[in-house]
């Protein structure tokens, strides 16, 4: 029976994922590993004591709201593209990019808030880690915004519609991932602070 199954499975051309989409998922895995290792390092280091305690900047709540909102507008863009509502798609993409940009500005102000609290990049690792988390995430988010703009340009050239969704879907995946990544980091910081 088992032999037969394996045969049938192999007899037809294996239906498979779009290779580029699959590669994007693998890229996401590697980014997850970077942040997983950094947050683990944070816990290990915190366990050893000599850990500077300070309050997280409140602005993180607002930036988190912004990034959740941007995921909603991204989904709106996705649905619009699926329904061939191209004007709506462009509007949604523009709003999403704008929200992404707003998030980055907010993260910058979180650094300002940290400096106001005398928490610097150079100093106790508890502060340095915070800068590394936010900085590295922001770098990825910048790449996400660039991706968004590329998608926006393709949509202006009528290259994104219900029959041609690959690029759009990759962008959606990446954007939701970046949002989820930030929410993870923020929750992690709230719980392990």
């Amino acid at each position: 029976m088992e032999e037969k199954l394996s045969y049938e499975e192999g007899a037809v051309q294996p239906l498979s994922m779009h290779p580029k989409k699959f590669a994007l998922w693998l890229f996401i895995v590697s980014v997850v590993m970077v942040f997983a290792s950094l947050t683990s390092a944070y816990i290990v280091r915190q366990g050893e004591g000599n850990w500077l305690e300070f309050n997280l900047p409140d602005i993180f709540w607002y930036t988190s709201a912004v990034i959740i909102l941007s995921s909603i507008t991204m989904h709106w863009a996705y649905v619009s593209a699926k329904n061939d509502a191209l004007d709506m798609l462009r509007l949604a993409l523009i709003i999403t990019s704008f929200l992404g940009f707003a998030f980055l500005v907010g993260q910058w102000y979180s650094w300002v808030a940290l400096v106001d609290r005398d928490v610097y990049f150079v100093g106790n690792p508890s502060g340095s880690f915070l800068y590394v988390f936010t900085g590295l995430h922001a770098l990825h988010l910048i790449s996400g915004v660039i991706f968004l703009i590329i998608v926006l340009i393709s949509s202006l050239r009528y290259k994104i519609h219900s029959q041609n969704m690959a690029q759009m879907e990759m962008c959606v995946t990446y954007w939701h991932f970046l949002g989820a990544l930030w929410i993870y980091l923020f929750m992690f910081l709230l719980l392990n602070h």
Binding site: E3, K4, S6, Y7, E8, E9, G10, A11, V12, Q13, P14, L15, S16, M17, H18, P19, K20, K21, F22, A23, L26, F27, V29, S30, V31, M33, V34, S37, L38, S40, A41, V44, R45, E48, N50, W51, L52, F121, V122, G123, N124, P125, S126, S128, F129, V132, L136, M165, A166, E169
Partner: protein, 627 residues
């Protein structure tokens, strides 16, 4: 998740077959076969440098009073006026030997070469999922190589903190000359290297999962592909962690943060860094470092499985057990990293857990060894050079693996850690084994790479010199290590307890020089045969796998016509009833009624139905095109 049928992929690639000029064919090539060869040649270049560096420090260890004046044209000021090697440069030599061999030769040179070359050929694909990414992968590796190579010629020397570059030694420029610019360039080069590995790995995984030809189920993949696939997964999960470790180290070195630094006094003065943890670096590093061992080893094991089965003219023993044990090794490789840190001040209870997990790895490793031996058992052995090196791999894998059982014990490790026992252990089980796998692969797939055969006699001479040489180098090292002599020490003659090992060291050094010199036979054979070797036949080893169904010099796209379909597993050697002693994967079961097993007879009917169905579809398509 949207699903795409990738057969349209086939069409795109036909167009690439013409218009190749020199640059697109040999330099900025997107053809996986050329990229594989690029990795191989760069790997050989690095292997020669890495080997040469080891000879230089072996001279220092074996013949401490020797006058090294003759090396001054190469090393300049690193040889002082009395003809002695500079102690700081000795550390740099050891560091660079390790870095080059582990990353540039046995990761990029082995995995880069054979994953690139064999994955599309053995699974029946036109090329990698993304040829462009693949090209980037090589060029990032090249960039990394250039940076690392330049660092060899710095005034203060290349990185000198050991290949593991532990802080604080590597984090403070004041510590040793090798922690200056050399260390910075080391980190830059490794960053490019990580990018290269990730680009390559993502490509390998995507290709294996998405671009297999018709009939090539996972249960019919050659073990080489399984090994490359799992290696790529390990790399994808572990290299990002090295990136994190290196990133924090860069911040500590260049921006003044204190992730790894705390309470350090230099010349009586306290450094401003507080609150860092040096052990943190070790955790991050070894989370990559241990899986890296298997990144190096698994491809060699995969290559060996294929070569041993082919040249024993027998199906591989325990195909599924081989896959399961490789899966086991893959998973276990991520949960044993702290056995490198038993004496770092870690909680001894944690040590016991890691010891337990470490010793479990002996099980899948032993399964693999038994399977190799039982495949060889009563086979019609053909001692081609590739086969000899594969059997050699099994030998060094056993002798090096046994010492691993000792080192994995956290109690025994207190005595043995950081001695030459460790050096002997990992040079046999990881260094030599992987190197043997690499060389076996070169001998075996050379005909496919260049359409010519390598000289068999030279191959035999090369094997015996290497095999005997390797044991002469590393076997005595066990004794030196048990006697308690630490690695990375510049000289041995200053201490009474190690004085008596001078002659043993002399022996090791002499053996090392002979072994290194023997590798020139391979280099000569390789480059000579590339141009003047005997022309190869299409399937010189009478092998079953798909790569031997391509033309002698496959163009970009690999198969001139349709990609062949696969109807059976790759190890139908000496099947009872069959006229030939091998049945390639492309031969349908219905064509071999004389050798089919009872359960295969049932499959024949199914196969016929499918073939008939496909025929209808083909006819339908053709009539559509005509109309």
């Amino acid at each position: 998740m949207a699903v795409a049928n990738v057969s349209s992929h086939d069409v795109e690639h036909h167009e690439h077959e013409h218009h190749d000029n020199f640059i697109t064919k040999y330099i900025f090539s997107t053809d996986h076969k050329m990229i594989g060869k690029q990795f191989l040649v760069t790997g050989i270049f690095w292997a020669l440098i890495g080997g040469f560096l080891s000879i230089v420090f072996r001279l220092q260890l074996g013949f401490p009073d020797m006058n090294l004046e003759f090396l001054r044209p190469i090393f300049g000021g690193w040889i002082d006026n009395t003809g002695k090697l500079d102690p700081n440069f000795y550390l740099a030599l050891v560091t660079m030997h390790g870095t080059i061999m582990v990353f540039f030769v046995l990761t990029a040179g082995l995995s880069g070469t054979f994953s690139n070359f064999l994955i599309p050929l053995q699974i029946g694909a036109r090329d990698m999922a993304s040829g462009f990414m693949n090209m980037l992968s090589y060029w990032f590796f090249f960039l990394s190589s250039v940076v690392m190579f330049c660092s060899l010629f710095l005034e203060k020397g290349p990185a000198g903190g050991g290949w593991v570059v532990y802080p604080p030694l590597s984090a403070l420029e004041q510590a040793i000359p090798g922690s200056g610019l050399g260390m910075t360039l080391w980190l830059v080069a490794m960053t490019f290297f990580i990018v290269s590995s990730l680009l390559g790995g993502i490509n390998y995984i995507t290709t294996v999962i998405n671009l297999r030809t018709k009939g090539m189920s996972f249960a019919r993949l050659p073990l080489t592909i399984w090994a490359f696939f799992l290696t790529a997964i390990i790399g994808l999960l572990s290299f990002p962690v090295l990136f994190s470790a290196a990133l924090l180290l860069v911040f500590d070195r260049s921006f003044g943060t204190s992730f790894y630094l705390s309470d350090i006094y230099i010349g009586g003065e306290a450094l401003p860094n507080t609150g860092g943890s040096a052990v943190l670096y070790q955790h991050l590093f070894w989370f990559l470092g241990h899986p890296e061992v298997y990144i190096v080893l698994l491809p060699a094991l995969g290559i060996t499985s294929e070569i041993i089965a082919t040249n024993s003219r027998k199906p591989i023993f325990g195909y599924k057990a081989m896959i399961i044990s490789m899966l086991g090794i893959t998973i276990l490789s991520f949960v044993v990293w702290a056995h490198h840190m038993f004496v770092s001040g870690m909680n001894p209870f944690l040590g016991s857990i890691f010891m337990f997990l470490t010793l479990i790895i002996a099980v899948p490793s032993a399964v693999k060894v038994f399977n190799y031996l039982t495949t060889l058992w009563r086979g019609n052995l053909r001692f081609t050079p590739g086969m000899l090196f594969s059997i050699g791999l099994v030998s060094v894998f056993i002798s090096g693996g046994l010492t691993g059982i000792f080192l994995g014990n956290s109690a025994i490790d207190i005595q043995l850690h950081d001695t030459y026992f460790v050096v002997a252990h990992f040079h046999l089980v990881m260094g030599s084994a992987s190197f043997f796998g690499l060389v076996a692969g070169v001998y075996h797939w050379f005909p496919k790479m260049f359409g010519r055969m390598m000289d068999e006699k030279l191959g035999h001479i090369h094997f015996w010199l290497t095999f005997v040489g390797i044991y002469m180098v590393f076997f005595p090292m066990h004794y030196i290590g048990i006697a308690g002599f630490p690695r990375r020490y510049y000289t041995w003659t200053e201490f009474a307890f190690s004085d008596m090992y001078t002659d043993l060291n002399m022996f090791v050094s002499a053996a090392a020089i002979i072994t290194f010199a023997a590798q020139m036979i391979l280099v000569f054979n390789f480059f000579y045969s590339m141009f003047f070797g005997r022309k190869a036949s299409l399937n010189p080893w009478r092998s079953n796998t798909l790569e031997w169904t391509t033309p002698l010099h496959p163009q970009h796209g690999n198969w001139p016509g349709e990609i062949p379909s696969v109807y059976r597993w790759p190890y139908d050697y000496s099947k009872p009833g069959s006229k030939e002693d091998f049945i390639p994967q492309t031969i349908p079961l219905s064509a071999t009624p004389e050798s089919n097993l009872p359960h295969e007879e049932k499959l024949v009917n199914l196969e016929k139905e499918i073939i008939a169905e496909e025929g209808q579809i083909l006819v339908a398509n053709e009539t559509k095109e005509e109309s």
